[in-house]
């Protein structure tokens, strides 16, 4: 996935800088534009050092789409590390998601310009990125004075940043689309951190997991953790079928293994405690191979394999984000000393009881992970660091401009619950707007219904199941990730659907009717669909 993103970044760079113009040396100087037709390219640097790129069609109609890219790791990762190796910090601007040419072409065809910043720093950068975007909008308007409207959109952390613009600067934007939106840093870090803590506690206590050193030493620690996590996951992958626990398991893990507790049940419990989705790129928790495992596989095995796939993503994020946040806050920012993991799985233990191997096993595992077990030490956060973390921007969920949400229902990095939270908060906002309209009617005898400003596109997993099996009955994991799974795993058709909806909303001030939104596959418009909030919110 990361490599795909890098490829996409390169494409984006090619798109917006087809002819490289020299970036102004002085920050906050006017952008350097090449003056080309039909697409003029401009680049520059904001006052905080964030590079940006603009592409403006000759038929510019006064609307520009501002895209905010997602979380990029804040350290270089050596090439030898599986999955994420070879990544280098980049602040290359990304004016459309992944450099998607079809999306850019669509905007240009409408006379709409595109722009985006690479931001001044990578990692969790919402607070600075919001300021960067505000400045970028101002810079664009100065460069193109006929600018009338700004559409804001972004993915993952960029979705969070976009929602922040919606809340803090509605005067600057006409429509917004947070895609696969991240929840608050604390909520995201809690999900990832809980899972990583579980891996460390049961399967490899040598994983550091927190309290990383500064500088190169810290980088080495976090890269070392990534390798350990991937090694553990590899062992768990084998152990799910053989029952064997990783040889690196802690004394607590070994005691559970000795009690005959299947390792797949332990892995699943960790995922459920953290709120990791139980459907993943290749495991649907529905399908089974023909034969004896037709029922057993989806009932008892597939949920654990889904956690294995999704949890790998969550654990890597946990390591790199934890290190990043600790650098920003000056200390350990994750604290699970008071987390009640048993309460976390109150519902899930019923639903996944078979996969968790029954109540006796569940209780034994929860007991082993409880604070009462000295063999499962909790992470004690640094109060000052946590205070700094909590002082970072948190979205309230307020919707001020027509807004489109798009998310995958089984996104393992930014779970769909982040979007659900916004949906629920907006429901309350809309109800209050209706009450206000009614109150106004009573005094004016003129009822003006409030306009609905939010539509949510759920990218769903195929309902008939999507796990495929070889003729020998083994699950196949080399096929493309199923829709609705993986992080920000959207099709061009889905991006275009959002783009077209935004354009409609920016023109009319209203969202299109649902009946007009039918052409992007696997989109679910059910207003009653419900995803669980992230566990952090303790809903």
């Amino acid at each position: 996935m990361r490599k795909q993103r890098l490829v996409a970044l390169l494409s984006a760079t090619a798109l917006v800088t087809g002819v490289i113009v020299s970036i102004p040396v002085a920050a906050n100087a006017a952008p350097a534009c090449d003056g080309k037709v039909p697409i003029q390219s401009c680049v520059g640097v904001t006052s905080d050092g964030a590079p940006y790129a603009m592409s403006v069609p000759a038929n510019f109609n006064g609307t520009v789409a501002l895209y905010s890219h997602g979380y990029r790791y804040n350290i270089d990762i050596p090439a030898g590390v599986p999955l994420v190796g070879g990544y280098k910090i980049t602040n290359t601007p990304e004016p459309v998601p992944g450099g998607n040419v079809a999306v850019a072409t669509y905007f240009f065809s409408q006379g709409i310009a595109i722009m985006g910043s690479g931001f001044a720093r990578q990692g969790w950068n919402a607070d600075s990125a919001i300021k960067t975007n505000v400045e970028l909008i101002d810079t664009f308007k100065k460069q193109f004075p006929n600018t009338k409207k700004v559409i804001a959109w972004g993915s993952s952390l960029g979705g969070f940043i976009t929602q922040a613009l919606n809340e803090k600067h509605p005067e600057l934007i006409s429509a917004a689309a947070p895609l696969c939106m991240a929840d608050s840093l604390a909520a995201e870090l809690t999900m990832a951190g809980d899972f990583l803590w579980g891996l460390k506690t049961l399967f490899d206590p040598s994983i550091k997991g927190s309290d990383y050193a500064a500088g190169a030493a810290g980088n080495a620690q976090s890269v070392g953790d990534i390798i350990k996590v991937l090694t553990v996951m590899s062992k768990l992958s084998a152990g799910i079928s053989t029952g064997a626990w990783p040889d690196t398991s802690s004394a607590t893990g070994k005691s559970l293994a000795a009690a005959g507790i299947p390792v797949r049940s332990a892995l699943l419990l960790l995922g459920l405690m953290a709120g990791v989705p139980t459907q993943s790129a290749h495991f649907d928790s529905v399908s089974g191979p023909e034969g004896a495992l037709k029922l057993t596989f989806p009932l008892a095995v597939s949920p654990a394999l889904a956690i294995l796939e999704n949890g790998t993503n969550a654990a890597i994020l946990a390591i790199l984000a934890t290190q990043d946040v600790e650098l920003q806050t000056g200390g350990v920012s994750f604290d699970n000393t008071k987390t009640d993991y048993a309460a976390r799985v109150e519902d899930e233990r019923i639903i996944f009881n078979a996969a968790l191997s029954g109540n006796a096993v569940i209780n034994a595992m929860l007991g082993a992970l409880s604070p009462a077990n000295p063999g499962a030490p909790r992470i004690v956060g640094n109060a000052g660091a946590i205070a700094k973390l909590n002082a970072l921007h948190v979205n309230t969920g307020k919707i001020n401009v027509p807004t489109v949400l798009l998310t995958g229902v089984a996104d393992p990095i930014t779970p769909a619950g982040a979007v659900q939270r916004i949906v629920d908060i907006y429901a309350e906002q809309f109800a209050n707007e209706k009450l206000a309209a009614i109150a106004k009617y009573k005094s004016t005898r003129s009822y003006v219904a409030p306009v609905k400003k939010l539509v949510t596109f759920w990218s769903i997993t195929p309902s008939k199941g999507y796990t495929t099996f070889s003729s020998a009955g083994s699950p196949i994991t080399t096929t493309p990730a199923a829709p609705g799974t993986n992080h920000c795993n959207f099709t061009t058709a889905q991006f275009l659907l959002v783009a077209k909806t935004l354009v409609h909303a920016s023109k009319t001030g209203k969202l299109p009717l649902h009946s007009a939104i039918t052409k992007a596959g696997n989109i679910y418009l059910d207003s009653q669909f419900r995803a669980p909030w992230l566990k952090y919110h303790n809903q």
């Binding site: 009881n353 109540n359 309350e428 309902s463 008939k464 009653q528």
Partner: protein
């Protein structure tokens, strides 16, 4: 969030009031979800295939047999009942997917008789029928938690809770097996939690309890269970388990010639299903069983007579058993609820009808239901029987003596419930 809901309710009702001042273009007879001028659509998910389907996969055919009969006699106020059935294979994630299809694609008015605690729970969490206002009628699980009307406001139980069953079993044990060593096989999930809670309330002390994780039951596992019961010298062994576990236990016991006094819970106690797995009928002989509906062989009972005739015509050659009876009974009660919901039934009026009149609905059951505006509790008791040499459950002494209780600490008492007579031709009045 609670505050929001209240606000929403207030605002919705007020907006409606305002809207009515100006509404002139609204059709006079707007169709309601799942209800047209000619039909009412209901949906059902349960295991139709796979290892967990045995016995339970007869429930849809049974319900359809009754609905076909009802439809042939005019339906409900002229509307035919269409039952759409989806196979969830007893997999919670699949139950969620299939239920979503029923609600969103098939647009059913209500869900009927979904089966399994985990599945009903998964659907409640992910599909959220409560939030959608979709009635979930007569669920096929006795987990007492589903009677929590605040948590599951649109869900109606029908089976007596497992707590009730365990309490009534406990009472029987105290009266008949005092001083005996009692063993318990239970499923180690919420099914079992309910059972353990009920036995605890009843004051039953076990010589040995053996829990098994759902899905782990097999002949090999049963051999291990038997070893434990033998070691504890259990005189009476209670099988508070699903059909497959009960059958595995009885089949293996027959092979190992292990023959304590068996006591079978209602969930796994259907003789037809047990015998289909190859368990000799003789193994069941003199086992004690519990049921809330009449013996399926009791053709003197007017409900059994009608239902068995209907089923024989609809599904020739398929034995009329407990699953069939419960399926037809749920369909019969659904028909009455739809009738009571008025000339143009809606989801809300359907639930209101059960709340206000459900306790008086005719039913084959020999124990009362607890439906009211504050309770969605279904049947509340059992009669005790013994299995015959042919494996059929019949009341001890030839007369149904029913016991009723609650899911709390209430006493187990002999029921004075007098079952309403079956309405003419078994059709809703």
């Amino acid at each position: 969030m609670k505050a929001m809901n209240r606000q929403k309710l207030i605002s919705v009702s007020t907006v409606l009031a305002v809207a009515s001042l100006v509404a002139t273009a609204i059709p006079a007879h707007a169709a309601h979800v799942g209800v047209s001028r000619s039909q009412i659509k209901l949906g059902m998910t349960l295991p139709m295939t796979g290892a967990a389907s045995l016995g339970y996969n007869k429930i849809p055919g049974a319900a359809k047999a009754y609905f076909d009969y009802l439809n042939a006699n005019g339906g409900v106020n002229g509307r035919k009942i269409t039952l759409i059935v989806k196979d969830d294979r007893y997999v919670p994630t699949e139950a969620v997917a299939r239920t979503n299809e029923l609600i969103l694609k098939d647009k059913v008015m209500a869900l009927l008789a979904p089966l399994g605690t985990a599945n009903v729970k998964a659907v409640a969490s992910s599909v959220n029928p409560a939030r959608r206002g979709v009635p979930v009628l007569f669920i096929n699980t006795g987990f007492s938690g589903f009677a929590d009307i605040k948590k599951y406001p649109t869900t109606y139980t029908i089976l007596p809770s497992y707590v009730m069953e365990a309490k009534i079993m406990g009472e029987y044990i105290k009266e008949n097996f005092a001083g005996k060593k009692i063993g318990l096989l239970y499923q180690d999930d919420d099914f079992g939690i309910d059972a353990l809670a009920g036995f605890k309330t009843a004051g039953v002390n076990f010589a040995v309890t053996v829990g098994y994780a759902s899905g782990s039951q097999s002949a090999a596992a049963a051999a291990g269970w038997i070893t434990k019961f033998k070691a504890a010298k259990a005189d009476v062994v209670i099988l508070f388990a699903v059909s497959s576990a009960t059958s595995a236990m009885l089949g293996t016991a027959a092979v190992l010639k292990y023959a304590p006094q068996w006591m079978l819970g209602s969930v796994g106690g259907d003789a037809t299903t047990i015998k289909l797995t190859g368990v000799p009928a003789g193994v069941l002989y003199n086992a004690i069983g519990f049921s809330s509906v009449p013996a399926t062989t009791d053709l003197n009972d007017e409900y059994i007579k009608l239902f068995s005739d209907l089923y024989a015509k609809a599904v020739p050659g398929s034995p009329f058993d407990l699953n069939v009876l419960l399926g037809m009974n749920s369909a019969f009660m659904t028909a009455q609820a739809l009738k009571a919901a008025g000339a143009n039934p809606k989801r809300k009026s359907l639930m209101a009808a059960i709340d206000s009149k459900g306790a008086t609905f005719a039913s084959s059951a020999l124990v009362p239901t607890g439906y009211s505006k504050t309770s969605h509790v279904g049947l509340t008791g059992y009669w005790v029987g013994k299995y015959s040499p042919t494996g059929d459950l019949a009341p001890i002494g030839g007369t149904y003596v029913t016991y009723t209780t609650d899911s709390g600490t209430g006493a187990v008492v002999k029921s004075t419930y007098k079952r309403p007579a079956m309405p003419a031709k078994g059709l809703p009045n």
